[in-house]
Symmetry: C2
């Protein structure tokens, strides 16, 4: 198992795309990682399953009680509603920014790069995203490419649920390689 003794944070709230949380969660746990669901609300958060609400998952920790230094990576699932709610929450943006500042890998898929825009950490980075937000990503100063997964100095991005196998594999690779050379 490649991720023994590794701890990974998944930051999400209601409206996260179901596959984009559960597939990384299961893939990373399978490699031995301890994975925490971090949110801005207590209790359960409700997924979005393609075109309607889907199954929920229990929150392990509120973002205000989570310590970035405890983790070896941050995963940001997409969904349209989830990042739209998180990006107006200053403590969520601070949390994301702290991973960046402490040079710990950050992985964002689908609509989650909106969070990288709001956290102010996407400028001059080479990334991908869901097609609908491509213009927002480019306008924020990023270099956008149409690839299943892109890594730029510890920042991992993918386009949509079809890219999940490549996305999860790249997260595992980045964590086992250690801290990013920012």
């Amino acid at each position: 198992m490649k991720l023994e003794n590794k701890k990974i944070a998944i930051l999400a709230t209601d409206g996260f795309e179901k596959s984009e949380l559960f597939e990384p969660l299961n893939g990373l746990k399978k490699e031995g990682a301890e994975v925490h669901i971090i949110s801005i609300k207590e209790g359960d958060i409700k997924s979005w399953d393609v075109d309607d609400w889907g199954e929920s998952i229990a929150v392990d920790k509120l973002v205000k009680n989570a310590n970035v230094a405890d983790y070896d990576a941050l995963v940001l699932p997409g969904g349209v509603i989830n990042p739209d709610l998180l990006r107006v929450t200053e403590e969520a943006l601070d949390f994301i920014r702290d991973f960046y500042n402490q040079e710990i890998p950050v992985a964002a898929i689908c609509h989650a790069p909106w969070l990288l825009i709001s956290a102010g950490i996407i400028e001059n980075r080479t990334v991908t995203s869901y097609n609908s937000i491509k213009q927002d990503v480019i306008n924020a100063g990023a270099h956008w490419e149409d690839k299943e997964v892109i890594t730029d100095n510890g920042l991992i991005t993918s386009r949509n649920p079809k890219d999940l196998p490549a996305f999860v594999a790249k997260i595992i690779e980045e964590i086992t390689e250690g801290k990013k050379a920012n």
Copy 2:
């Protein structure tokens, strides 16, 4: 009645914020306007009512069959899902752009300014929007202000459902004043 013999297009698809379509629809019809629901799909489109799917409305015309010159204004409701679907549809963006090019008033509320970004018609304009997309709007080159309604040469924008009375009143005013001085 202030809008007799006036025709107004509302462009939306599934996930439009319910109040942001129905309140302009009813307010504009009350002044005598003929209002058409234009979409990228036939049949009904389903609203989003604050935190879940809400009532549907019948589509009058597909965007590909609609003629911009027939209308005296275009209204773009928000919702998170609706503009995210429309902004990847080239014929929807062409439709919006044609209103702009023909100097016919365009009104966008909440998350609908994403459509103005994707249509490429927001640069150097003074606008407002829903708070979560403020950064996207600014990054697209617009001047963002925190007001219930802003008009800039025929481009009318508001922040959220609470602004609807001011938003609808301003649409009526812009139409009765005639074409914008672009």
